[in-house]
């Protein structure tokens, strides 16, 4: 029996979205096949890794994750610059942890100051991730959008409860929004429709499917992403043809397995390598499901994952 490569034909394509401004702007999307199925399609824009920066010194990071950033955790600007200059970040993801109403509950005005400082000190695109409190984010991110007029930030998570506020800001001040839904393909589609109806151009929307960490629900994210890509590429579901972002680092590093010391968990091996590999294995799993942007933390995990991306796409 002669062997023929079993190819499939796709009917859809993921929309291209350009993030940021100027020479360091990054374009993602554009895939017309399943992830890394390059024998039957293309990925003109390889997936990218955003390195995360907290707006306040993180309290719950294990030593392994903290160590590369210990000298900069008190200063988001220095932190972001270190990510770019030392670790080659192509995007920065600024996590507005301090705005969480269940935490420090800092004001939108304070957040705007931090975002402006970080945004103007780097050339690479800036993702601004709120506290995931819909009401607070509606206030904070709308003001961030206004204050950073025309910088094409990537702001989110935008949810059904605040999409009008944040979406209006994104339209008026030309930013990209992160449409976030709780691991459900129908809700994802619904929100994308609402954003379209509001008037946000497709070239300014990316999708956050909600990310579960390794051992903590990654299989749900994995399958919702695969379904999403299947609908987008094979079933011409136009409202699902958006690039996907996975805000994954915090899901990995908050688990007890990523935090445990060698004494607490001898069977889990070297704690530093373990944390790095838990992050990198999570990343690879999400890439195979269709991630376009990964928000990552540890420089060594990032290096490993970049290497895997280039191997998967090698000629």
């Amino acid at each position: 029996m002669a062997f023929q490569i079993p190819q499939i034909t796709y009917s859809g394509v993921i929309k291209e979205v350009t993030l940021g401004k100027g020479s360091k702007a990054v374009t993602i999307g554009g895939e017309n096949s399943y992830p890394y199925h390059l024998f039957e399609g293309g990925m003109d824009h390889p997936p990218r890794i955003a390195i995360e920066v907290y707006d306040i010194p993180p309290e719950d990071w294990p030593e392994t994750a903290l160590e590369p950033f210990r000298d900069v955790v008190h200063d988001p600007v220095a932190w972001a610059r270190k990510c770019v200059e030392t670790y080659g970040a192509e995007l920065i993801a600024l996590q507005l942890v301090s705005t969480d109403p269940n935490g420090l509950n800092r004001s939108a005005e304070e957040a705007v100051e931090t975002v402006k400082k970080v945004a103007t000190s780097i050339e690479v695109p800036l993702i601004v991730w709120g506290s995931a409190n819909a009401e607070k984010d509606g206030d904070v991110l709308r003001k961030v959008a206004e204050a950073c007029d025309g910088m094409n930030l990537i702001i989110g998570p935008v949810v059904e409860g605040n999409y009008k506020q944040i979406g209006a800001g994104a339209i008026a001040y030309r930013h990209t929004v992160i449409a976030s839904s709780p691991i459900d393909i129908n809700l994802a589609k619904q929100l994308n429709i609402l954003l379209g109806n509001l008037g946000i151009p497709d070239s300014q929307i990316i999708v956050d499917p909600t990310t579960g960490g390794l051992g903590y629900g990654i299989e749900y994210t994995y399958s919702v992403m695969e379904r999403d890509r299947m609908a987008a590429l094979s079933q011409q579901d136009e409202r699902l043809q958006f690039p996907i972002i996975c805000n994954m680092a915090r899901e990995v590093w908050k688990t007890k397995e990523a935090k445990a010391s060698a004494e607490e968990a001898p069977a889990l091996g070297d704690p530093k390598k373990r944390g790095i590999l838990m992050e990198a294995v999570t990343a690879v799993t999400l890439l195979l499901a269709g991630a376009d942007i990964l928000v990552m933390r540890h420089p060594e995990a990032i290096k490993l994952v970049r290497d895997v991306i280039s191997d998967l796409m090698a000629k």
């Binding site: 029996m1 002669a2 062997f3 023929q4 490569i5 079993p6 499939i8 890394y36 199925h37 390059l38 024998f39 719950d60 269940n102 579960g212 390794l214 051992g215 903590y216 629900g217 990654i218 299989e219 749900y220 994995y222 399958s223 695969e226 379904r227 299947m230 908050k254 688990t255 007890k256 397995e257 935090k259 968990a265 001898p266 069977a267 889990l268 091996g269 070297d270 704690p271 390598k273 373990r274 790095i276 590999l277 838990m278 990198a280 294995v281 690879v284 799993t285 195979l288 499901a289 060594e300 490993l304 994952v305 290497d307 895997v308 191997d311 998967l312 796409m313 090698a314």
Partner: protein, 448 residues
């Protein structure tokens, strides 16, 4: 291949004899088509029909077993390309490489790691199953001795790897009751190795550098009467090996290519020298279709993430993972420690117990059987509501473990407080916890 019930019906005797246990041949045909019954239940089916039907009903990817006793590795038998389409069924076996050119101490260490690296999770033991024994010395006697040793000191399912048929024969001789996988048939040794596999009844791996050549070899082996084959596409770069996994799975499922309808074996150990990168290559094959993954070594830091990934990817998406109902003590709680109640969806349990743990406040976590539904879903379905939770708390026996009578419920179901109070009676105080698990540490620390 999936014949429809009607197609199958045409091949049956149509006598409605009822001896198969259903009233009509049509009903039996429908059950066959649905995979609910075996054709052997029909005593009158013709030989011709039997041949046609068994061919049609053979699984597109041959399921097979390696190993014996408690630790049998089942691979193959997959029916879908994407886990959400149904489920993946037989998780890939992880193998550690042991060579007869390694020092004794090195071999001892590896066997020790194989035996000791075990992890408890969701009531399951996560563990590696396989040892690949490689004849690098070229000496059949050395190989045989190592196979014997590995067999007697572990319960591993074995992969016997040699270029030499004499070595493989010696290895199989001392381990055939363990049902090892013989690695590997190639263009150069086909006849001899086919005989070895047939005589020993052991599964056989087949290696070639192109899928076209590979399927030519399996065709010959199948003609020689072998059924339990495992495919090695020979690719050792990530992109090619990844593509081969997809080609083989698709060829079997969508092209009905019987010559590629077998599970695969992959070798991250031969694809990089960096153990960290090797783990990521293995992670790729966990998600995309490997039947066996051979690693250069097992270390907790890389094996654990891979075992968890495998558990996650091979979880049946149609059935949520659940925890057993009961009292879960976290951090050695005492009679004054707080009591929290939640549902038995395993993910909820992991997140809630993880947050309680990170608060470092010893607590009792009551996990109630909600059939694997999450808090809000269980509440909406009427399973996690006041009277049900109250009944559960009473029969859980927590009242014997603590002096106080306070229970913390998830903030998302604050509305059940009233009913719960009624069910438990006035001595109990219901406290409403945070809506988000992430806020549990703060809640517990402030003395709530």
């Amino acid at each position: 291949m999936g014949l429809t019930g009607i197609q199958i019906f045409k091949l049956l005797p149509k006598t409605n004899c009822k001896e198969c246990g259903v009233p009509t041949c049509l009903a039996f045909a429908m059950n066959l088509a649905a995979g609910k019954v075996e054709l052997t239940l029909c005593p009158y089916v013709s030989e011709e029909a039997k041949a046609m039907l068994s061919e049609a009903s053979a699984p597109p990817i041959r399921p097979l077993s390696i190993g014996s006793g408690e630790n049998v590795v089942k691979i193959g038998g997959e029916t879908v390309l994407f886990r959400h389409e149904k489920t993946f069924v037989n998780k890939p076996g992880f193998a550690i490489l042991v060579s007869d050119a390694m020092s004794e101490a090195e071999i001892e260490d590896r066997l020790k790691r194989f035996n000791e690296l075990r992890y408890e999770r969701v009531g399951l033991t996560l563990r590696p199953e396989m040892i690949a024994i490689k004849n690098e010395s070229g000496d059949p006697g050395k190989f045989e001795a190592l196979v014997k040793k590995v067999k007697s000191e572990t319960d591993a399912a074995l992969i016997l790897m040699s270029e030499k048929i004499e070595a493989l024969t010696a290895g199989v001789k001392v381990s055939s009751d363990r049902i090892p996988l013989i690695y590997a048939a190639t263009d150069g040794n086909l006849e001899a190795i086919a005989n070895l596999a047939r005589e020993s009844g052991c599964p056989l791996a087949v290696r070639a550098d192109h899928l076209e050549v590979l399927s030519g070899l399996t065709e010959k082996l199948m003609a020689a009467g072998l059924k339990d084959l495992v495919l090695d596409s020979g690719s050792r770069t990530l992109r090619r090996a990844f593509e081969d996994q997809i080609f083989i799975r698709r060829a079997a499922l969508t092209q009905k290519n019987r010559f590629l309808g077998f599970p695969t074996i992959t070798f991250p150990c031969e694809m990089t020298k960096d153990p960290m990168k090797e783990a990521l290559i293995a992670a790729t094959f966990v998600a995309k279709y490997a039947g066996i993954i051979v690693l250069s070594d097992f270390r907790g830091e890389s094996l654990f993430p891979l075992l968890v990934e495998r558990l996650n990817i091979y979880t049946d998406p149609q059935r949520p993972m659940v925890m057993e109902e009961g009292i879960y003590p976290i951090g050695n709680p005492g009679e004054d420690s707080p009591v929290l109640v939640t549902v038995n969806f395993s993910l909820t349990y992991f997140i809630v117990s993880g947050e309680i743990e990170s608060s470092r406040i010893p607590s009792w976590l009551l996990v109630m059987d909600t059939e694997g539904l999450s808090v809000l879903t269980a509440w909406a379905a009427g399973k996690f509501v006041g009277d049900a939770i109250g009944t559960f708390i009473k029969k859980s026996g927590i009242a014997d473990r603590v002096k106080h009578r306070q229970v913390i419920i998830p903030g998302a179901v604050a509305v059940v407080s009233g009913d719960l109070e009624e069910e438990l009676g006035p001595e109990w105080k219901i406290k409403v916890g945070p809506r988000e698990a992430a806020h549990i540490p703060a809640y517990l620390k402030t003395g709530n």
